[in-house]
Symmetry: D2
Subunit: 364 residues, 4 copies
C-alpha cells in the first residue's frame, strides 16, 4: 500500500497498533524490503501495550548492555547511603572507569550532593511593530503575572509557574516561563501550560504582531549559556574531599598534578569555547539515562520512559521509581558524574605521573 | 566479599565474566541488596561473550523501544534511495514527527546530502617554562610533521594523521592532532596514535615542562566553538527544496511564516548562547545512535557498539553494516535530522498559521 | 631622583601637580630621556586644574581630530529633532560613512530610538566551605535585600540598588548588584555602594570563607553573554524604515541584497563566536565617546571625562551636557550607530550590486 | 544651503577642505545652530592639511589628557629596556594604577614579551546553489592559492597573503584571507588585496551565486572566538615572575590570595561568557591607542593616525615611530597591560588581605 507518490510507509494496525502482531508485521515488512534479519530486535520481554505514549511504529527494541557500577556512597539530602548504578553503554572501559571512581570516593567518605536549583521552561517570543511596544508589553507581563500563572496552571497539577524572565532584542521580547514540575521532567507539561498562558495573553493584550511558542531561548536538548546561568532541569553540585594518598594509591596520580592539569584544561576550554569545563559528564549521564528511561539531559522519575520494563527496574534498583524521588535520582546522577570525572581526570595525568616517578625516583 | 573499608563490590567471575551465569550472579546480587526485580533487564537474546570490549560488569540490557520511520528518500553521494530508519526512544511523538518530515521531503523529491569534512582528533597540550619556548616548539612541530606522523601511524592501520593544528595561550601550546579514521569512530585509535606520537616527541624534544594528552581542545562528548569551526567527526550538509504548497498541505504551515520563525529563533539562539541554531537535532541523532550502537555524537559502522546484536541488525536495515559504509550512514543521519527539523519547525508555527487562517479567512 | 632600584619615575610637584608647570616639567623630563619632542602634546587650551580626578602625571593632550556628521534626525523619547554629531577619529572615511547613513535616514524620516533597560553593576562573589552553605547564603541574601540596599545606598545619592541576581557554581555564589545610576556612568558609585553592602553582609552573616568584590560577572570593559542578556549600561534600540528606492539611490544597494548579506553574516557570526552581530558599532561609539569624554562602552553626561574642556563642548553641541541628559545622549549614540551600520552594510553589497546591474542590464 | 528635503549639511570648502578656515567655518556653523561654544575644540596646534585621509568635515580636536606612566622595564625581543608610556584617559586612577604595576614589575626584573603570531584578515564568503558546489570550490581554492596570492599582492607592497582558511556551513564557504602587513595595521590593505583576489576568483571560477567581501568572520572591531583561536593583529604574551614579598609590600596582597581570586574569576568568566579572562586590558590598550593614534585593537606604527601631531610624538616617546617598529610597539603594549592587570587584580584582593591581617594578626 503506497502513498500517491509511490512511497510505501510502514504498515499500521488500525485496531491495535501497540501489539506484538503489529510490531511483527512491521518487522517482517522491513526485513523483506531491506534484507536485514530482525530476530534480536524482535526479542523483548514486555507487552507492547505499555508503549502507548512512548513510541510510534514500534518494531522491537535496542538491547543496550548494562554494566553495574558501585557501590556509590552518597551523602545527599535526598539520596543517602550506598547505591549500585546501572550504566547502559557499548563503550568499553566506561563502566570500569566509573566504578574505579566510586571505589575511590567510597574510601574517601562518599560524595556530598546538593540540589541548588530546579526549573523547567518553555520560552515563547513575542514580536511587535516596534521596540517601544515590546517594552510596554514587558511591563504588562510583569503586572499581570498572577493572571498568567492562573491561566497556565489550569492545564497541570504538577507544574507551578515560578516566574517569567524577559530578554529584549530589537522589537522582540523573548521570555522564559520557568516552572517547577514535581517528579516529571516536565517538557510536555510546560509546553501545554505555556500554550494556555499565551492564549490568555493574546486574548487580553492587543498589538502582538506574532508570537512563537519557542525561539531558542529554552534551548531544549541543547547546551547554552543561558541555561548554564539560569538552570534548566536540576542544578546539582557534587563534592568530595580526597586525601592525596588515596589518589596516589588508587589512581596513580597526585592531587598536585591533577590540579595543574585542570588549570590547563580550564584555559583550553575557555579558548575552545566548550560548553562545560568538565571531562566527560555526558558519558555517565547518557549511560544512566538510557538505563532509566530519561529524556536527554533532563531527569524524571515519573512519565516519559521511566515506566518501561527494564527502565523501571533500573530506577527501582536505585530506589528511585515513582513519586517524590526525582531529587534523590538527580543527586545520584551528580555523584556518579563526579566519580567519572575523577577517574578520567586522573587517567589523563597518570602517564605523566608514572613517567615522573620513573624519572624522579619513586618507581626505581 | 567486601573491600577493606566494608564496601561490597559486584561479584565477578574470574574464569569467564562475559557469560550468562556471571551476569545472572550479578543481577541476583543486586536484586538481593536493592529489592529490585531484574527480570526484564535479564531478558536478552544474545550470548554475552560478544560484549568483550563493550561493557564491564554486565548484568543485562536496557530494552529501548524502536520505532520505524520512513521511507526516507536520500540523494547522497554514498546513500542513494529509500531508507527505513530505526529510532530508539521513549519520547512519544518523536517517531511520528520524524516520519512526518520524511513523508514531506519524499514528496518534495528527497534530501540531498554531502559530507563536507571528516576529522577525529586527540588534543594534547604542551607546557613550557615560557612563551618563547612554546613558540619554538610550535615551529619544531611543523618541521617534524612527517616523523611525528610516522610515529603515530605505527599504532594503527585505519588512522591517518591529517595535520596538527596549533593554538597558543600563555606558555602553553594546545594542539589538535586531526586524523581520518576509516569506518571506525576512532576515539581509541586517535588516543593511542597520539600517545605514541607524544612519546616520540618527548623523546626527541627537550624542554617540555609537562604535557597532557587532553586539555579540553578535542572537546570529546561536548559541543564547542572549535569543533563547530574545525569539525569533529563528519560534517554533513542536508538540503531540500520544498514547495510552499507541500508545507501548507502536510505541515499546516507556510514557508513565509517558517522563515520568519527562523529569523526570530536565530536571533534568540545568538543571545542565549546556544550551541547550535537548529531545533532538536539531538532527538533524532540520539535515537538513531542508540539503535545502531554509536558513541554519542560520533558515527561509525565498525567497532564500538556497532557489532552488538540489535545494533547490527539496525545498521543492516540501513545497508550500513561493515566496511566502507560510514559516510553512507552519516548521510542518512543528516537526512533524518533535516526531516525532524522541518517537522518540529513547522509545528512551532502551525498554531499561529491556523489562527492566521481563522482570522484572515482561508479556514472560515 | 630614583627609586631604590635605580628606577627614575616621572617628577611630581608636591605643592600642585595639576598645573602647567608640573606638566611641563614632566614633558621636559620625558623629552630629555626619550629624545621625543612634545610640543604638540604640550599644546592645550585649558587649565590643568580641571583634571583632578581624571588623570595622574598629566603631561599634555592627545589632539584627536573631530569630524562633524549630520544632521541626524532622531525620533526618540528623550532626543527629538536634528543633531550634529562630533566624531573623534583618525580613520579615514569613518565620518563620511556615518554622515552618508545620516543623510539616508534623514530622508527616510529619521531614527526611532527607545531605551529598553538601564543597569550598572558590581558583581561580588562569595565562597563557602560547601555548596549547601552557598545555597543557604543565597536564600539569606534574598530575605535581607532591604537591609543590604540600605547599607549600599548610604554611600550614594544617585545610585539605587535595583536588585541582586544570583548565579551558582560549585561552592561559590556569584552575584550581580544591579543599580540605576542617574546621569553618571556609575562605575565608581556602584563599586563603593557594593563595598559598603559587602561590609554589612560580612558583619551580619557568618560562614563566608572569602568574598571578592569582582569575579568576572560584571564584565566591566569586556563584552559578555551575561551582559548581552541582562544589560550593562543602557540598552537602546534604534529603528528605521527605509524604502528600497532610497537604498538604491543613496547606497547603490538593494534591500533584498542587504537582507541576503545579513543572513550570511548572521550565520557567519554565530560560527565565529562574535560578540555582536552588527557591522562595526565600535567605530561610531568609540569616536563619539572620545569626543564626549565617555568611559569605554558606558555613557554618562555627568562625571568622568564629561566636564573636560573639549568634551563638554561636544556634549553641549548635542544639548546633552549636565543633569537629566543621559538617556537623550544614549539615544543619539544608538541612532548614530544605526547610520553607520547601514552605510557599511550597504558598502559591502554595493560592489556586487553594481556588478549585478552591469550584468543584468540596469547599468548598461 | 539645504538638501532637497530641507536637511542642512555642514559646509564644505570645495577648494581646500583641510584648512583652518574650512574647519572654522564648520565650527561657526555648528555653534550657531547648536548654541555650543567650540573654543577648545578649535584649539589645535597643527596644520589641518595633515589630516587628509584621517578624517572628514574636520572641525577641531578632542583634547584628551595624557598621563605618563613608567618607567616600564621590558625584556622583549624587539622592545628592550625602560619605557615611559603615554596614557590618554579621563578615568581617574587609571594612570596611577598602571604606574603602580610598572613599579612592581620593574623591581621584579621587568616584563618578558613575546610576539607569538601576526595576522590581519579580510573574510569573504562565497555562496553556491548547493553544499557540494561549495565543497568543490573549496578544493579549487586550495589548488589555486598561488594565483590568488599573485592577484591579491598586485595591490600592495607591505601585505603578504599567508594562507586562506576555510569554514563551511550550509551552501556557504566562509574564508579568512590571512595576511602579514608589515608596519601597517593593514585593514585597508587587506581589504583591497582581497577585493582584487575575489575579482580574479569570480573571473576564473564559474558558479558562484554570490560573494560578500565580509560576513562576520574577520570580526573587525569585535571580539570573537575565532580571533582568540586564530589571531587577528599581533598575539603577544607578557610574562613576569614576582616574589610574594614584593606583592605584599607594594600591593598589600599575597600571591596565594591573588591566585585564589583568579580561580574564582576564571570560573566566573566561563559562566558569564566573557570575551577574555583578564581584568581590564581594554583600559590600558585604549589609553595607549588614543595617545598613539591606533585603530581600536589593532596596532600600527605606520599609516592610520600614527602620523598625526601628538600621536607621532607619543610614538616617538616610545621609540616606535616609523618603519620596522610595530612589533616593538606591540610588546610595549602587552607589557603595559600586564602591569595594569596586576595592579587591579591585587586591588580586588587587597581589602580582604588587609582584613585578613587585621584578623590574623600581622597588622595588629
Amino acid at each position: 500500500m503506497s502513498d500517491e507518490d509511490g512511497r510505501v510507509p510502514l504498515p499500521r494496525d488500525r485496531e491495535d497498533d501497540y501489539s506484538r502482531s503489529a510490531a511483527t508485521a512491521r518487522a517482517e515488512f522491513l526485513s523483506e524490503r531491506t534484507g536485514a534479519g530482525l530476530e534480536h530486535v524482535g526479542s523483548y520481554s514486555f507487552d507492547p501495550a505499555i508503549l502507548t505514549g512512548n513510541v510510534e511504529h514500534f518494531i522491537g527494541v535496542a538491547q543496550v548492555p548494562i554494566g553495574g557500577a558501585g557501590p556509590l556512597l552518597v551523602n545527599g539530602e535526598h539520596a543517602k547511603g550506598e547505591f549500585y548504578v546501572p550504566l547502559a553503554t557499548a563503550e568499553g572501559t566506561l563502566v570500569a572507569s566509573y566504578n574505579r571512581g566510586m571505589k575511590l570516593l567510597h574510601e574517601a567518605g562518599g560524595v556530598t550532593t546538593t540540589v541548588m536549583d530546579d526549573a523547567m521552561q518553555r520560552a515563547p517570543s513575542f514580536i511587535f511593530p516596534s521596540a517601544r511596544e515590546a517594552r510596554a508589553f514587558g511591563e504588562w507581563l510583569t503586572e499581570n503575572l498572577e493572571e498568567i500563572r492562573a491561566a497556565a496552571e489550569v492545564t497541570t497539577t504538577a507544574g507551578k509557574l515560578r516566574d517569567i524572565e524577559q530578554y529584549s532584542a530589537s522589537r522582540i521580547l523573548y521570555t522564559r516561563f520557568n516552572y517547577t514540575t514535581g517528579d516529571a521532567a516536565g517538557q510536555n507539561l510546560t509546553g501545554k501550560a505555556t500554550q494556555a498562558a499565551c492564549r490568555w495573553i493574546t486574548e487580553n493584550y492587543e498589538g502582538i504582531e506574532h508570537f512563537f511558542l519557542e525561539s531558542n531561548f529554552a534551548t531544549d536538548k541543547k547546551s547554552s549559556q543561558v541555561n548554564m546561568l539560569r538552570t534548566r532541569g536540576k542544578r546539582v553540585v557534587a563534592e568530595a574531599t580526597i586525601p592525596n594518598e588515596l589518589l596516589e594509591r588508587h589512581m596513580h596520580a597526585s592531587s598536585e598534578l591533577m590540579f595543574k592539569a585542570r588549570q590547563v584544561s580550564n584555559l583550553g576550554g575557555f579558548m575552545s569555547g566548550v560548553n562545560n569545563n568538565g571531562a566527560h559528564s555526558a558519558n555517565g549521564i547518557t549511560a544512566m539515562f538510557i538505563a532509566t528511561g530519561q529524556d536527554a539531559a533532563i531527569v524524571a522519575t515519573y512519565g516519559g520512559g521511566t515506566g518501561l520494563a527494564t527502565q523501571r527496574e533500573c530506577l527501582e534498583m536505585l530506589g528511585c521509581y515513582g513519586a517524590g524521588k526525582v531529587r534523590k535520582f538527580a543527586e545520584i546522577v551528580a555523584a556518579t558524574v563526579l566519580c567519572g570525572e575523577l577517574s578520567l581526570g586522573s587517567a589523563v595525568v597518570a602517564e605523566e605521573w608514572v613517567d615522573a616517578h620513573d624519572i624522579y625516583g619513586r618507581n626505581r
